[in-house]
Subunit: 347 residues, 3 copies
């Protein structure tokens, strides 16, 4: 599996990045150090001193810079080396790679591709945890599995009735019915009603409306609204009106970042609408999410092990895989275009 490089990957939570404390991560196999400077700016550099390849994440933040604490070379936010102790000459190859970085919606987004192609507009339109509409809990999980297996899990909710029957109270209706998938320029939209279902909390059955966008490079934005049984039909089995009174309204944003070819970090928020929502409700949602996502993790890590033990084994898509197929077709095309753009002679 190759991953798109011209994209924003979530490297960290905003709130976990303390000023002056470098954070080591891997993204798409690249060792990256992320740090917040004295002035509050976030910087992402190759986590590898140009001198002897020691990690800058063991270094010391100094103002807007970071100093390698092996032999003292100092680097600026743009990756340039500004000091080599005991030496006046700063050679050109002393520069380390600097990754464009944007702090938005509670996350630190790192651009892993060509700087020529950087496009701030490509950051997905997420509702961040502190943006008010929803009361959102925050979680993250490290996976011993390929990121794309987690993406595929999220692109096919037919697993809910089998993997989450008790945590999310999901029924097998999830597997028996199909959502409507709509291709998006940078992803796939899935909309569906699931009728007369047990609720997440309490005991009032409801018609449930799920709509999510799954966007490059592995971002899920999900809204769920539940209504009294019968409302789905009343709404013509299509998108409920914005002003329709719901029983429950929850929101969730997920970002699954490939750390290496075989590992991933899964960042997510989850919680109820601020209207009628409470902090206790938010915490209950989050606890539920951790329970259910651990169920996914068991399956996906086991799936990853079976794949490793089965050279040559092929998947067999079913009609439930339409979202997965659309999304992979899109990313394959984007990866191909990335490759070809590198082969073009510069204008």
């Amino acid at each position: 599996m190759t991953y798109i490089r011209n994209a924003w990957y979530v490297g960290s939570w905003s709130h976990k990045l303390e000023a002056g404390v470098p954070l080591a991560v891997q993204i798409l196999n690249d060792p990256v150090v992320i740090f917040r400077t004295q002035s509050g700016k976030v910087v992402a550099l190759a986590d590898r001193c140009s001198h002897r390849l020691a990690p800058l994440s063991l270094g010391r933040c100094e103002g807007e810079s970071i100093r390698c604490m092996y032999h003292g070379l100092k680097f600026e936010g743009d990756g340039s080396c500004s000091e080599i102790p005991g030496q006046d000459l700063i050679p050109a190859n002393s520069r380390v790679r600097s990754y464009p970085v944007i702090e938005r919606h509670g996350w630190i987004w790192v651009w892993m591709g060509d700087t020529d192609a950087v496009d701030e507009e490509l950051i997905p339109p997420i509702i961040g945890p502190d943006e008010g509409t929803y009361l959102l809990g925050k979680g993250d999980i490290d996976y011993q599995a390929q990121a794309y297996l987690i993406w595929d899990n999220l692109l096919d909710f037919s697993h809910l009735g089998y993997v989450h029957p008790t945590s999310f109270n999901s029924t097998e209706t999830w597997g028996e019915t199909r959502p409507v998938f709509t291709p998006l320029p940078l992803g796939v939209r899935a909309d569906r009603w699931v009728l007369d279902q047990p609720p997440l909390f309490g005991d009032q059955r409801s018609d449930q409306w799920f709509t999510y966008d799954f966007l490059v490079p592995g971002i899920l934005i999900l809204t769920t609204k539940t209504f009294p049984v019968g409302k789905a039909e009343e709404f013509g089995m299509t998108t409920p009106p914005d002003d329709a009174a719901w029983i429950q309204n929850s929101y969730s944003a997920h970002a699954i970042t490939p750390l290496t070819d075989g590992t991933a970090r899964y960042f997510f928020t989850f919680g109820p609408h601020a209207d009628g929502g409470t902090e206790a409700g938010r915490d209950a949602f989050l606890e539920l999410a951790f329970t259910a996502f651990a169920e996914d993790q068991t399956f996906i890590e086991a799936q990853s092990r079976i794949i490793a033990q089965s050279p040559g084994a092929q998947i067999m898509p079913t009609s439930a895989d339409k979202g997965i197929t659309l999304f992979h077709r899109l990313t394959d095309k984007m990866i191909k275009a990335e490759r070809e753009s590198k082969l073009e002679p510069a204008a």
Copy 2:
């Protein structure tokens, strides 16, 4: 090392396979799920759903079937897929491999090769733990070593005096004398007297008669009888008469299954003859076996590490290796024949 595929490998104990509880194993690198259906039949399937390669061993047994609990596909004992939730069409490539399986002598035997070649007669004539003649304890050990190193250990008992001097009270006579090896159609037979030896239990020295068959694909069947000192000579140093009164008579069956190229599972029974044997005696035998087999494991796992550290190192057979040489010659020939049979055009 290549292993024979047209053979029955022990995948599990019978008594450990509860109805409705799938068991994950690897045999010859293949992930396999073994389960007992509602009607009591034992089934072995590739532990890999045809859909997205999740392990069926995380699935749910339903009557005679197993359902993948990732997206709900259901599989029958013959490997056919009988249900894909939300989809009427069952494609031909939805089938998973079904391995022939026989439950016998307390073990679950799995056929890893061509179904055309299945032959129930190839299951070795073991005395099972519940078959009455002997009171047999049961044990198993997981090895971080190639199965064939364990086989070789069992094909050359000259190690007993060096590896098991205190556990089995074995003397260096084991290394100084040689058994008579006789080729069998599917293995090697070893017979020997070891004279005037200390006993396993108590302090009465004895002449000891050991006879074992080591059979494809890694099955040892061992009988030991001890007699008063002098009896070996009286019996002409050959097989003691069946009705000759013994002091001790014990039996042991061993099955060493390659899990992967570098790991193995060792199943064994061990215990005294029912005539005069007691449950306490059986337990004492089993405890002794665990002690001695841990001594073997220390050596064989260390040997495996040294081999990994020594690319190109060759073994140097001694005259003690006759059984090993005969057995490897046989299996090499069988593996070659298996390969050639695959190259033949179908009639």
Copy 3:
């Protein structure tokens, strides 16, 4: 990285090698067993029985020999096999490799190359822990990193001010100034004054004189003397006279042995001059060394991980790397000569 083979590598401490207790080590990837015979001689053999490749280090020392405790083959100090139980013929290929070995200066030195090239004079002129001039504590550390990264660390003390500011009280002067490097036939010499520095112990600032030889195949011999501030200038910023009164005089010998391509064992002694030195002082030096060397280890193991994650990444030498460059140039030349000598037809 290839390592020189025609050299003496430290395989063990003398005092840790009890007579009759075989020690398993790896040196340059070779499994080696070292043992002290009944007569006190030290022997190093390939840790791999010629029969079935079991480790001789699990064997039993018998007089001047070692017996493999798998099937009982016995080996002499020269690697010849002197006994195969149950067999009169001792084949020529039963011999195991014997490594020349010398016990000197508290260490066991093992020659890993051609026996034709053995040269006792190549053992570096170390002061051993029991040779009186210094009171030397002894330590060793196992590294999950390539030996040459540890060598490079010792060949460039500019890291002291960054890695050891609190343990060794080192200042950034170490990075801002450079030693004088002098090529030696089998290594590199570094001499330097560091002026007006805080002391290791107490609070008297001093001018500090450091001189070390770093010798093939990874041996550091370091002497440090401190003098009242101003003395360096008085001595013309060059080697202080032997009879000049010092405040502190310490000595340290280090041997870094590559165990495998990616692991190493670091043996060291450290302590004050016997004149005025005390056992408590020696213990304080040793404790300090362990603290500081753990700081190095953190950096070097992290550097090793970054290198593994960064295929193709190149180092960028600075002017602080002169010693490293000189030493690698020397060893590269020696390795090339070793290779070429193997290609020459024998005279």
